[in-house]
């Protein structure tokens, strides 16, 4: 499949995928990344992976990686509903990102990466 890319705020994902896959890295918050994804959905891009992947909760993990399809045209309703619901869901959680000890940061990066990896393996299948 062609035309897909990863949008992430996770430096581990950026480093792991660099060169192989188109990666857009933005040093923004979890919610900032979801907003960026939404803006891209408004431009016609579609979601290929779920924006609330993983059981580590929003605002607990600071990292999120989403796979999107670079596409222009009418807004995809399913993608729009998913990203809007995901942004709403964030509001339910206490802001804990940044309160964890620094060494936990690497674990958050790893989990986000493995969730993304499982989606990428589905694309490659």
């Amino acid at each position: 499949m062609k035309g897909w890319y990863v949008i992430t705020n996770n430096p581990l994902v950026r480093d792991k995928l660099s060169g192989d896959v188109q990666v857009i890295y933005q040093a923004v918050s979890f919610e900032g990344l979801l907003r960026e994804v939404r803006d891209r959905v408004h431009k016609g891009n579609t979601l290929l992976s779920h924006p609330l992947s993983g059981s580590v909760k929003p605002r607990e993990t600071p990292y999120k990686s989403v796979i999107m399809m670079d596409r222009k045209g009418a807004v995809d309703e399913q993608s729009l509903a998913l990203i809007e619901n995901a942004m709403q869901a964030c509001l339910k959680f206490e802001q804990k990102a940044g309160r964890f000890r620094p060494e936990v940061d690497k674990d958050f990066q790893l989990i986000d990466w493995t969730l993304l990896e499982s989606a990428i393996s589905s694309i490659d299948r």
């Binding site: 059981s55 909760k57 998913l82 339910k92 309160r99 964890f100 936990v104 790893l110 969730l115």
Partner: protein, 426 residues
């Protein structure tokens, strides 16, 4: 398929030099079990401890909870494709060490895993405060990657549970229950007037620490398929999921799935329990589409009248849950879904990250964001070093008096989405 479950009621666990079961007491040979655990060279050391209901003990971070069982008649062995060789299980006779559990604990990542309190308010929220727990804390060899550590602890827990189950092979059970399902045609002929009902179980399948295995196969690589519900009683489904303690399904829950139990209780009386359908909860949206399409198609092909769908986890699986519900309802099959809620600490927010008008019959396992105080307990098995790193907890979790202010999320099984929990509503 017909399975006899022989429950051996366990009244106590004690460490001893010779492993055996006598008068309902399990005598555990620690040295022998240690040897079994250390067969895996990725595990540096293991400590065993016993936690009994009512004791002032906190177990954390919990990875899995497993019920020891042994296959005494019929094909295959417990945990087929994982510990026993691959063979279809779910028929014959199985002995169960009822009332005890093997609890695995260990710090795999610096956040997330669960808490089991054996007394106090926390104990009221976890079903595993009621079991006699043999707790094993495994330490990895230096430099071991999280993937390998998770796998090592997962498999060590199963090996220990199987070794303990083996002690019950020649013990006469205190109680025997029989579970039997019919073939498709046989069921229609036998129960022509009863509604045909299946259980759709959604399995966590998103990646590291979010995985489930069916006969040893990673569920994210599977298509939705059919099981005879008795297969799960012999360990056909095992947990590799240790994220989101409150609403993950430990292996113990797969072995004792209350939806299966309750549907069997009604089988031949108010309904015909046709089968169990398992489906996954992948991250990739096309996988969701495919899995839910297959699930709905099978419901139609099996001429079902109704299904109960249970979810595992939060967020991403909400989408699978609603897709399953919508598509199954669209096939003319009545659907009841079981979920839990993340409704915010005040309970006022939208509970799920997805919704649809077809989801008009919903059972909830409770609000995982609800805040509770867990008082300081005398003994900790595992480590408190990371207690303020688990889901729903934060650096502010540990209060000056030693108590913990946490959301229900941190407690193992608190809002379980198969209904294997202690919460209820009045």
């Amino acid at each position: 398929m017909k399975l006899e479950i022989g429950n051996i009621f366990i009244k106590d666990i004690q460490f001893a030099s010779e492993a055996r079961i006598e008068d309902g007491v399990v005598y555990v040979d620690k040295a022998a079990l240690e040897k079994i655990v250390l067969e895996d060279e990725n595990i540096k050391s293991v400590t065993f401890d016993i936690a009994k209901p009512g004791e002032s003990v906190r177990i954390t971070p919990v990875k899995d909870v497993i019920e020891p069982r042994v296959k005494v008649e019929g094909r295959g062995g417990i945990f087929p494709g994982v510990i026993a060789k691959v063979d279809t299980v779910g028929s014959g006779k199985t002995h169960v060490l009822k009332g005890m559990a093997v609890v695995t604990a260990g710090r795999i990542v610096g956040f997330q895993e669960g808490v089991i309190d054996m007394t106090g308010p926390g104990a009221q929220y976890t079903p595993f405060s009621q079991t006699l727990n043999l707790v094993m804390v495994c330490e990895p060899v230096d430099g071991l990657k999280q993937h390998d550590y998770e796998k090592a602890v997962r498999l060590a827990g199963f090996r220990v549970a199987v070794a303990l189950g083996e002690l019950g092979r020649n013990v006469t059970p205190d109680e025997t229950k029989v579970y039997e399902t019919c073939g498709i045609k046989e069921g229609i002929e036998k129960y022509p007037d009863l509604p045909r009902v299946a259980y759709v179980q959604m399995l966590q399948s998103q990646g590291l620490l979010h995985d489930t295995y069916v006969y040893g196969v990673d569920a994210k690589q599977t298509l939705s398929t059919i099981l005879c519900p008795t297969e799960t009683m012999d360990g056909a489904i095992v947990s590799g999921n240790c994220v989101s303690a409150c609403d993950k399904n430990p292996t113990y829950v797969h072995e004792n799935n209350p939806v299966v139990e309750d549907l069997f209780a009604q089988h031949g009386k108010t309904l015909n329990f046709v089968c169990q359908i398992i489906t996954n909860e992948n991250v990739y949206l096309a996988d969701k589409q495919r899995s839910s399409d297959w699930t709905a198609k099978m419901c139609r092909m099996l001429d079902l009248d109704g299904v109960i769908v249970s979810q595992e986890g939060f967020g991403n699986p909400d989408t699978d849950l609603i897709m399953n519900c919508k598509k199954i309802e669209a096939e003319g099959v009545k659907t009841v879904i079981i979920t839990d809620e993340y409704a915010g600490r005040d309970g006022k927010s939208q509970s799920l990250a997805d919704a649809d008008a077809a989801a008009d019959a919903v059972v909830t396992g409770g609000n995982a964001n609800e805040v509770i105080i867990l008082p300081k307990l005398d003994k900790v098995i595992g480590t408190l070093d990371y207690i303020n790193k688990i889901a729903g907890a934060s650096e502010e979790t540990l209060q000056p008096d030693g108590s913990l202010k946490v959301e229900l999320q941190v407690i193992t099984g608190a809002t379980n989405e198969t209904g294997f929990l202690r919460l209820s509503a009045r």
